[in-house]
């Protein structure tokens, strides 16, 4: 147990400088943009006085490190500044959109695991046979397909066709309902976007699981188990599978970033009012505090989820506690 604690502390110590760096990048981004941030924020038509006023308000006249310290101090307290356009606190804007993005990301993860686990396992157990070849080709296509295009196709092929040919309108062409508001509608409305976003991840995880199972099947301990009469089912589903799936947990954790990033695009395709759409709208509105807040929040969430996954892996896989760096 002490090992786990040490391991967690080690990972935490790694996360702190990374988070500091990430916050600095989010902070400096606005300053690196060509031109005066205040001018950028107010637009070309603002008067010099307005710009000077905003510079004062934002503290842009102070030295950079003082500004950063202030930004960081506020961010830690949950204050990410105010939107230039709506004047609402950035934190409130983000929190209002967050449930949609979370619903999409979680559903995508579920979809991708639901596809990847059975196909990956089956592919490995039937290596070289038809099931294996088909699932590998499909996986390759899945990795090669841009998710937003898949989203468009799903809208055309599933939503439009079902609606126009059979009068089934369960999949909305646009928008998403939260499961907390209406569970049934919520699930149906998230299915197509989740499939669009989850397919590439599914393909990736499937490949990993297939490779992992193939690796494990050839380990000596499998022969030992066989030599001691342990049933093939127990060998496959208890011994091999556990060991094969554990390392993929880390990969899935790393791909949470893909899910968050990908949701920006998928939200645009399906018109989902999540963080991604907020980000895109803010970009076109040149609403930099909002963009800054989203970038910082997403980086923090990403680092935190990686940390969580690492710790989870460390607890589940006894080998890691001794391994150290290869985690």
């Amino acid at each position: 147990m002490n090992d786990i604690l040490q391991y967690i502390i080690k990972r935490l110590l790694w996360a702190v400088p990374v988070l500091l760096g990430a916050s600095f990048v989010a902070f400096i981004m606005v300053h690196l943009a060509p031109g005066d941030p205040a001018r950028l924020m107010l637009g070309e038509r603002a008067s010099a006085a307005q710009v000077a006023q905003l510079r004062m308000e934002l503290g842009l006249n102070k030295p950079l490190y003082v500004q950063y310290a202030g930004f960081l101090g506020d961010a830690i307290q949950g204050d990410l500044g105010r939107s230039i356009r709506s004047q609402q606190p950035v934190t409130d804007l983000i929190v209002g959109r967050l449930p949609y993005t979370i619903q999409l990301a979680v559903a995508s993860l579920v979809v991708s695991l639901a596809i990847a686990l059975p196909t990956g396992i089956l592919g490995a157990l039937r290596k070289g046979r038809l099931t294996d070849h088909v699932s590998r080709v499909v996986a390759l296509l899945g990795i090669s397909m841009p998710n937003f295009w898949l989203g468009l196709i799903l809208i055309v092929v599933v939503a439009v066709e079902l609606s126009s040919r059979f009068g089934i309108d369960v999949f909305p062409l646009f928008g998403m309902t939260l499961v907390t508001e209406d569970p049934v509608e919520g699930i149906f409305s998230v299915m197509l976007p989740a499939f669009a976003l989850g397919t590439a991840l599914a393909a990736l995880v499937m490949r990993m699981i297939r490779g992992g199972v193939l690796d494990e099947i050839n380990q000596s301990y499998v022969r030992t188990a066989r030599a001691y009469g342990i049933s093939e089912d127990e060998i496959t589903y208890v011994y091999v599978l556990k060991n094969a799936i554990l390392p993929t947990i880390t990969v899935v954790g790393l791909q949470l970033g893909y899910l968050i990033g990908g949701s920006v695009i998928i939200e645009t395709v399906f018109g989902i009012p999540g963080i991604g759409q907020l980000a895109i709208n803010s970009i076109f509105a040149q609403d930099f505090p909002v963009i800054q807040g989203i970038v910082l929040l997403v980086a923090a969430a990403f680092v935190a989820s990686n940390l969580f996954v690492d710790v989870l892996y460390g607890m589940l896989d006894p080998r890691i506690r001794y391994g150290g760096e290869n985690a």
Partner: protein
């Protein structure tokens, strides 16, 4: 094999459209298919036919011609971004590995920071600040791939560094830069080449995604992402408009992925050794 053929084909199409556009004033493509820029208000959103194999868009432009021309942007952005990223990544990776702490620690933490942003989000945020344009797209995508190449180079150099020939070169008093560039890097190239190929695949998707979101190159150019973005509005009425540019992306990306797979299988000495060991 298939991957190589697709990639060569993609490069050929890109080269063709570049030459045709800049030197021949689009004569060739107009003769073969149609002028990708020519609008025709009597031929809006036509379904695929012999005259327009991929149909036409909302301005009556030929989608096949535009899809062919779109290859250029994807290839240029992919090559330039991944080329830039690999160059910077190789330098960072070799320097950090060769000199060790504290340079190593600082460099790798910096890479961790870059990796703490979901890649497409980082590119989007950079585009938000830099504004649209070819160089900006290349730069935004390149930044995302630097850590990958830095990490691969670092681990390769670290393992090569302990090899005897490096010690010998050092003992003979070669300067560090020579040892790294002449001795270590050539031996570490394989995984970098493989990663380059896979990164081309994802960079092409990233470029298309940025264009799709309206954050890519200037909208006057035909690119696959911009075409798909335009197709969204007509998704229920003109399926061909969203299908063909997407297919072009998929085939191209598939080509790079396949090539990457076969390069890895062919070049990876570890796997080769395993194959030997199996008898």
């Amino acid at each position: 094999m298939v991957g190589g053929v697709i990639v060569v084909g993609v490069f050929a199409v890109a080269l063709f459209s570049a030459i045709d556009d800049f030197l021949l004033n689009r004569q060739l493509i107009t003769m073969l298919v149609a002028d990708p820029y020519e609008t025709d208000r009597f031929a809006r959103l036509l379904a695929p036919s012999l005259e327009h194999p991929f149909g036409t868009d909302e301005q009556g432009r030929d989608i096949f011609a535009r899809t062919l021309y779109g290859t250029r942007t994807s290839v240029v952005v992919g090559l330039a971004a991944v080329g830039f990223a690999s160059a910077v990544g190789i330098v960072i990776g070799s320097v950090t590995a060769y000199y060790g702490d504290p340079i190593d620690m600082i460099g790798m933490r910096a890479m961790d920071v870059l990796l703490s942003f979901p890649s497409i989000l980082l590119a989007i945020a950079l585009m938000a600040i830099l504004g649209r344009g070819l160089e900006n797209v290349i730069f935004a995508i390149a930044i995302v791939y630097v850590p990958t190449f830095a990490r691969i180079t670092r681990s390769e150099v670290l393992s090569e560094k302990s090899e005897q020939y490096v010690g010998a070169a050092r003992a003979m008093g070669y300067p560090d830069t020579n040892i790294v560039s002449r001795e270590i890097l050539p031996n570490s190239l394989t995984p970098i080449i493989v990663q380059f190929t896979f990164s081309m695949a994802t960079a092409i998707i990233a470029e298309a995604a940025l264009s799709f979101l309206g954050l890519g190159v200037s909208p006057i150019h035909p690119t696959w992402g911009i075409m798909l973005s335009g197709a969204r509005q007509y998704i229920t009425s003109a399926w061909w408009y969203s299908i063909f540019p997407g297919l072009a992306i998929m085939v191209t990306v598939l080509g790079f992925n396949l090539l990457g797979d076969s390069l890895r299988d062919a070049l990876d000495p570890q796997q080769q050794r395993d194959a030997e060991g199996r008898m």
